[in-house]
């Protein structure tokens, strides 16, 4: 059964006919065409599919699209504005927080969610906030550096 799904996706209102059994991840990638959000483990273990729903990091691979009706959804595509990278994006770029890059959108969204809630996190809070994401390349050290760099940029007024 399909129904009308209305949500605010990346700052713009959308309305789509969506079947009940469609995952938010598939809605974003296949229906809307926003392929920045990645399909990883398909079972909620890796965090590659992380998006923000009402500013909270959420796994889009375990969320049914119809359940975000009336909510705000932000994907990785929402971050860079007018060609300017966001603080977290610049952090990952300049501190080499990304290697193969597959987990990166998930890490960036989880980090952006952290900075929206807590603009000045400690290292322990950064580690805690990234606990739902897995990276098999970097060993995490560069990712933590990237987030710390983003915290500093954010303090100078670059949006997270």
């Amino acid at each position: 059964m399909a129904r009308l799904l209305e949500c605010r996706l990346n700052g713009r209102d959308r309305a789509d006919a969506v079947a009940d059994n469609v995952l938010l991840l598939d809605y974003l990638r296949e229906k809307v065409g926003l392929t920045g959000t990645k399909t990883g483990c398909d079972g909620g273990e890796c965090g590659a599919c992380t998006v923000l729903i009402n500013d909270k990091p959420t796994l889009s691979c375990l969320t049914l699209a119809v359940t975000v009706h009336g909510k705000r959804v932000d994907t990785i595509e929402s971050l860079g504005v007018d060609g300017q990278l966001s603080a977290v994006q610049r952090g990952f770029h300049e501190k080499l927080g990304s290697q193969c890059g597959y987990c990166t959108p998930g890490f960036i969204m989880a980090s952006a969610g952290l900075l929206r809630k807590n603009p000045n996190p400690s290292e322990a809070e950064i580690l805690e906030a990234l606990g739902s994401n897995i990276c098999r390349c970097t060993g995490y050290v560069k990712i933590i550096e990237a987030v710390k760099f983003a915290v500093a940029l954010n303090a100078q007024g670059v949006p997270p």
Binding site: G43, G44, H69
Partner: protein, 338 residues
Amino acid sequence: MDALPEFRVLSPKTLDDVVAARAAHPDSKPLGGGTDLVVNIRRGIVAPPVLIDMNRVQELHAIKADERGLQIGSSVRLSEVAEHADVVKLYPVVAQAAAHIAGPTHRNMGTVGGNLCLDTRCIFYNQSEWWRDANNHCLKTTGTICHVAPKSRGVCFATFSGDLAPALLTLGAEVDIAGPQSRRTIPLNKLYIGFARQDVPITETQGDGKFYLSLRPGEIVTAVRAKNTPGLRSGYDKIRIRRSIEYPVAGVAVALKREGAKLADLRIAFTGTNPRPVLLDGTQALCGGPLDERVFKGLDALVRDQIMPMKTTFTPGHYRRRVAGVLARRLLTRLFES
């Protein structure tokens, strides 16, 4: 686009509508955060024709914690419980247990009701469809034997691994249940029936890893409540193979009272070991004296007697039982001396 089988999602706005929807669709499943149910649907373990989204019901989102008691609605998010200032201060065991669940993103999604009713787990159950098919399935799905205990004569040993249940059991919590016949309140301990006894048939009060909740058809958990016990010290600890998104080797909740040098009250509950969360029987007999070898020996005996991990995870059962005992002893010591 067809990662999932066909199903309908109903989004009732009131509790009465939820109960009516459950009654109208007996094979439906309540949907909280989806971190347990949607995974199982994707793996072809369950295929409910109707999901009932519990998140639009306002009254299930209430959370209240003060000096008199604690009350949490079943749709409250786990992160909300973990971060709630009054829960952290007055009911630390509950906040700590919530903070130990999976990872931060999962806690933004998962609900209290979902964690209390969490499906039991087993390495022969939480697998893809082709994996299970190649192993002739298991008792918990459509198979005829339990691969963990092939001589179990129809008893399933899948393990309960929710973290909130043991924490709330040490507080003597009750659960509110709504169903088509009536609303009722039962002690939380009576919700869990995974005794997995081979000598008694499965009934409403005696179940196993497959029939692990005493909920009747169409019933749902709507809230959990606990009274405040002044002077109670409580905490939660868990050991996992890694620190996030991993099911427990063992989890333990401890609540105790100390009067001078004496242990005056003691309650200990475990998760990740049996097909139900286990509130240890017999801890009262350990009270009355100082925290010494007598208490620890007695505790070891109770754990040996009542904690029964089977080979349902990659870590062997005898190791998990030892971990459970050691974890309880450490937490008990820490709380007593704090």
